[in-house]
Amino acid sequence: MIIGNTTLTLTEEQGMLMDVAREFCRDKSPVSAVREQLDTELGYDAGVWKEMIALGWTGIALPEHCGGSGLGVSALVPVFEAMGRALLGTPLLTTSLAAQLVMRAAGAAQESVLADIASGKIATLALTEDADWGREHFAVSLDKNGTLSGMKRFVPDAAVAELFVVPVQREGELVIALVGASQLPDGAIRPNTLIDETKRAANVDFTGVRVDENSLISGEQVANAINDTRLIGALLVAAEATGSAGACLDTIVEYLKTRKQFGKLIGSYQALKHPTVDILIDTDSSRSFIYHAATVVGDETLDRDGEIACRMAKAQATDTLLQAGDRAIQFHGGMGFTYECNAQLYLRRAQWSQQQFGDAQHHRTRLAKLLLG
């Protein structure tokens, strides 16, 4: 059947995490706190990050024997939805993805790395090399002497990362290099200026860095692990975007209920009211897709259902947020045109989200292949 798997469940653990995460994000990341971080170097409140580590969020999806909770990616979805709702940054996203890649590619062989991450070490996934997120081959390479050369771009939270998880090419073979921050030469990191001011990324030039055998992950599972990490990245960004879309919708609704023009509350004008319902409906679809994906994606290699679910989630959620952010500016009128208005935060997040792990059209093109052959 073309519609495929349509299961959607919520485990007790997911439900509890959802409640905790929502409350935590509401308390720790009101919009005033978000704004305070917009022009800081870190981009987040180190104290809040410590609390997140203490809550065990860096280990949610990691195995219990590594100090994690063993709940899998599905438990990360409600957390990232809550974080997206509160526009709460922090390196949790990239750390989680770096950990997923190590776990999927190396498993027990890199248990100590996973244990470090579970207990709070900041890791980052240095995946992308150019503007084309559809590119699957890496130019950054490792020569036979174990020396890296080449630059990764858009590396999230590179400035604070203690560990870089770096897929590279070694003589035609895909391998993953684990690089410590201290191994990078001075000037290797050049911060990006992102349209989403709640996020941080940088170019990282790995040229000249030496990687010893213990810090290399190789083997035939590497390619699958990278593919799956891309899909999980798409899913987690979708979860975050869904949360942001929900908050953006709330922001619109609040304004429509309080602002008057021509003597009437503007929410009574169908020209604003009906597109707002469209955003609600799209946000509902996004939520359904991310929790469906959370239901079907586990620790094992993603199957067809899992791939479809992640791609649909990303396609839906980022398109939803793009539309919500765009309309949020418009519906706030002159106010929406100001930096002070929160609408711009969502619009900027939308632009960022669409460009992570492929935009909606990219995923629909892959879905066409999966669904229609």
Binding site: M1, I2, I3, G4, T6, T7, L8, T9, L10, G15, M18, D19, G246, V253, L256, K257, K264, L265, G267, S268, Q270, K273, H274, T276, V277, L280, I281, D284, S285, R287, S288, F289, Y291, H292, M312, A315, Q316, Q361, R364, T365, L367, A368, L371, L372, G373
Partner: protein, 400 residues
């Protein structure tokens, strides 16, 4: 009454086998996709026979009392039977106003006499029921109904006009919303609810030709039509409340409906299967990147609705705007259906300009007719525009 999973599983297998075995062959003419499309006697007789057969097999009205033609079973059985009917894409159970509106209402609040008189004959399709709510001047504004019912001794005298009466020309009975008191401060309080016979003096029906060129609805004219006073359900002035009560039965057998299949679902998959072998610009239409993108969007719309139903059943996942999925369901479904059917016409190329009656029309012009008929859902039962207002006001709390 407790039912074991095993019983249900066995029952599902049984009904599935029966449907597989008894699903009628293509009769050589297009069958109605919904109960609003029964346009001629030929279709009517075919569907009457089918419904009777399903009932006789024991798969309709299962949760209704045995005394009135039912089986007194747990509603879970009927739900399963309904699912299997849908899954096997059998013809519709056309007597929907009886099975899903009037019947359950009578079951809930009718007198014993009413139950004896009406219920079984609804299940067997001996009595066709229709609905008299809408009026020409008050399309989306039911509460404003102006058809008058004046008490005169043991009778009510009905005058006025109803529109969009489904199968009005075939029906024996109508559930009728009429105004017994024109002077109430709130317009709703003047309405009463009747189980009104159709085959009496003073009731005339005029079939409405639909934009498809076919029939399925009538206008119904009441001119000093006299009905027995005991046709009144409940008390005078309770009409609006009772009419709203009928809506709850839409939630299926668990809510009291007799069951059966109200409409044949048309899925994106049906469309895609039909497109195998169609070519466009000298290549397979299913290879065209732009059309593939449109098809993926259509699949996603359909899938998100199914997932939405699942998610809506999990309270923790529906906390943002409770009621959102439920209240927007008709809007989402009807609009996405309309878009999908238009797409199905577009994809046919030049054959998309053919219509029902052309022997070379793809599937007999099914998609063309289905697109035209899709407006019954985006207009009937509250237009999409009115539905959007409802969602805006009741879910988002936006001002009227």
């Amino acid at each position: 009454m407790s039912v074991s999973e095993l019983e249900l599983t066995e029952f599902r297998a049984e009904v599935s086998a029966w449907m597989h075995e008894n699903n009628p062959k293509d009769p050589g003419f297009l069958l109605p996709q919904t109960f609003m499309e029964v346009g001629d006697e030929r279709q009517l007789e075919f569907l009457r026979e089918w419904q009777h057969k399903v009932w006789a097999a024991g798969y309709l009205g299962m949760a209704w009392p045995e005394a009135y033609g039912g089986r007194g079973a747990d509603p879970a059985f009927q739900t399963i039977a309904d699912q299997e009917m849908r899954r096997h894409a059998v013809p519709i159970s056309f007597n929907i106003i009886g099975l899903g509106w009037a019947g359950p209402l009578i079951n809930d609040i009718g007198t014993t006499e009413e139950k004896e008189k009406y219920l079984k004959r609804i299940l067997t399709a001996e009595d066709v029921w229709c609905q008299g709510f809408s009026e020409p001047e008050n399309g989306s504004d039911l509460g404003n109904a102006q058809t008058r019912a004046v008490r005169d001794g043991d009778e009510y005298v009905i005058n006025g006009q109803k529109i969009w009466t489904t199968m009005g020309n075939f029906a024996q009975y109508m559930i009728l919303l009429a105004r017994t008191n024109p002077d109430t401060p709130r317009k709703y309080d003047g309405l009463s609810f009747f189980l009104s016979p159709m085959n009496i003096a003073g009731v005339e029906t005029r079939p409405i030709r639909k934009l498809t060129g076919e029939y399925g609805f009538t206008e119904t004219f009441f001119t000093d039509a006299r009905i027995p006073a005991n046709c009144l359900m409940g008390e005078e002035g309770q009409g609006w409340k009772i009419a709203m009560q009928t809506l709850q039965y839409e939630r299926g057998a668990e809510a009291g409906a007799a069951g059966g299949q109200m409409m044949v679902r048309v899925t994106v998959e049906d469309m895609i299967n039909e497109l195998q072998g169609v070519s466009r610009d000298e290549a397979a239409v299913l290879e065209d990147p732009l059309l593939r993108d449109e098809l993926v969007r259509a699949v996603m719309e359909e899938k998100s609705q199914i997932l939405g139903v699942r998610r809506g059943a999990i309270p923790g996942l529906s906390s943002d705007y409770p009621g959102s999925l439920l209240l927007s369901g008709k809007l989402r479904m009807s609009e996405s259906t309309r878009r999908m059917r238009q797409l199905a016409i577009k994809l046919q190329g030049a054959e998309g300009a053919l219509y029902v009656g052309d022997e070379e029309a793809r599937q007999g012009g099914f998609w063309q007719r289905a697109y035209l008929n899709s407006f019954s859902a985006t207009i009937g039962g509250g237009t999409s525009q009115v539905q959007t207002n409802i969602v805006a006001e009741h879910v988002l709390g936006l001002p009227k």
